[in-house]
Symmetry: C4
Subunit: 231 residues, 4 copies
């Protein structure tokens, strides 16, 4: 019944080790089916080498397992909350990719320093602050979802404009209209994080990209008059 | 009609992922035909895995598409301006290679620190300063070409002596008599940028290469009495 | 007689170059047989490319060769001491993996900065201090074992809770209930060391992970109510 | 006549790209025949992908081409001088490997910080100071040989004890009793340089390895009572 959804989820997950974004089982991708209000997600702790499409778990937005014999990813509640609050997203990817995670460990936003970054988003990559202790001891992965949503709300960001976030002391989450875009964003974030690391250690205190360039590069790819790619 | 030109352009583009210089579609190579005053360039946003020789677009120096069904690279106007002003170059490569781009984000020239650098150029790798806001909001990619040409003029550099440049907050461009040389220069620039990053973070404020060594290593490869390679 | 033990040891050793943890012969893995009180270990200085299961050496806890025609790893006495003092461990891995070794060279613990680390241990990765000169000149590899055991005792750590250590100015050792877990820990340590290197050079003096998060992430994988992986 | 010597030289050169030590043609290996007082060396500027055993050039200690149709490496005179002054070495390797070259660009010795280094040499990796201008403008590659030999003499080092050197603002040279050992030393030097870079940027001003450990690790591999490897 969920054959196609599982297959799409499987293929997205298999891209993560291929792109060098995960070590062992440190990551997961999910795909949503908006009509049936369920999503497909990687099972917890299963190595990518042995993962099969039939291992993928189908979960609803209240975290109930709808289909599947394995336990879903331990990050499932974070995915569920993001899907239920953000109608526009079709897929979510979570990794512990090296440079993005190193930035998350510093609790700093990744400053926008160049056009590689500006081609994808017009603001710094936001780093959601550490959770308070009560939330951590409560429903932790559910609260991680709120941590992200609240941070976006406070900053006035939308998930359509900004398709990535760092969770302080943890790691990145990315998303997109499709899971393919979410996977793409994970790889872009890792590269943007790496370049920003290099620039910031080479010239501490360097200036952010000027506003005119931020707008220009974003419009090349995203504006009404975008002219990047094949239409 | 442009079969050979397209093939040469295709092969040059395919070298970029092989040399580890591009992620996804972040780069492009072009080849000029001086007699017909056109150049072949990668189509915009087409992944390297699916790129075919027949996808290559033929463009003239006024940015008109001469042949091809796809939209050319969004950087096409930069290529066109460089070809029309610099008669001696036969190919151009643009990448967002990691270390060269990190330097561009700092707005700093890459200082000449060793013979790996001096074997290829006798000055720091120039970093053209950020464009003024009016130019950014105008014909941006065309102005990027002027940004490079003006910087060379101000510094008294020629495109024969210096076959690479960083564009501030953006990324590198390289060129050469042939597109093969332009591709080679892209890989050399990335390695020179990496070594300089390491040296500068290990010993901030380190001295540049002494003049006698700069001249000597350059002459080994380029002077009238050059003795590097097979004659 | 020790066919299976040798095979298991061989396979664990062959994982080390595959995971990018060893250059040439700089590493070794061993597997213990608790009933017979012997362990299988890589022969000294044999390249991984030519290593065969029958080359593996069987050694007892007093460092006597029980079976095998080759000289065992020069680190054998360290392995023997750890096995004889720590009943719960089934395998040991020693590498000179790049980032973990770089930390060992600084004589600093690897601070716990994020959940990638906290998913595996709730304290900083301990760095055992340099040995005194008398011990170095004495039975050096045997003393290296004591250096590790004493450090754990002084810090009140157990080998079940903390399955990895850095030896100052030397390199890491990891272990686990099985040798597969010890190999896994070696790769995790290298990645944790790399992320911590990046975070610490990007933001010197950054804070450690808050206690509530440390406990939470550890319990996800290890506590009585753990919910990571398949049960 | 020099078939075997050429083949050995060819095989050593082909190891360099395989070990990740060279980009394009930035490196060369040579092998000496002490009886005939000639050495085999890579031709200049020939890519490794197309290099064939018959392309290798045979040169005597006075830099005369004895056999071969190609021009020998531009570094040939450095090799010749080292062979003629140091009787004990059988092969030489020159690369521009990234981390070793980055250290050479800082004009700093690589400090001995750990046992990975001490297993191979008991002193800092020496960095020969920049050449004076007269020597550069004279017989440059010949003078590079003197730069190395003089530095060893001033420091009281022998080429048997220390099989590697950095030439300031240039790059490393390594050697050994055999060319295989010289190749091995090039890879070891690159890894030692990388680890030292990481340690020094993580904890500037860190202490060198204590003397007792330096001696111990060196003796494990090299002393009269060495016990590393198979005897």
């Amino acid at each position: 019944m969920y054959q196609e959804l599982k297959q799409a989820c499987y293929e997205a997950n298999m891209q993560l080790p291929k792109l060098g974004l995960v070590l062992f089982t440190f990551g997961n991708a999910s795909v949503v089916d908006r009509e049936r209000r369920v999503f497909a997600i990687k099972p917890s702790g299963v190595p990518y080498e042995t993962l099969r499409p039939e291992d993928i778990v189908i979960v609803d937005f209240q975290n109930n397992i709808v289909e599947g014999t394995k336990r879903p990813s331990s990050d499932t509640k974070t995915h569920a909350l993001l899907y239920s609050h953000w109608d526009s997203i079709g897929g979510i990817v979570h990794t512990h990719s090296t440079y993005a995670t190193a930035w998350a460990q510093t609790q700093l936003d990744i400053p926008i320093l160049g056009t590689t970054h500006a081609d994808h988003l017009t603001v710094d990559v936001p780093c959601a602050p550490p959770m308070d202790d009560a939330s951590i001891q409560g429903d932790y992965e559910h609260q991680t979802g709120w941590q992200i949503i609240n941070e976006f709300q406070q900053r006035g960001l939308t998930p359509e404009e900004v398709e990535m976030v760092l969770v302080s002391n943890h790691a990145p989450f990315t998303w997109g209209k499709t899971v393919e875009k979410a996977v793409y964003n994970s790889a872009v974030l890792e590269e943007v994080a790496r370049m920003a690391y290099l620039s910031c250690t080479l010239r501490p205190g360097l200036p952010r990209l000027k506003d005119a360039l931020i707008r220009k590069h974003y419009e090349r790819k995203h504006g009404a008059n975008s002219y990047y790619g094949q239409s």
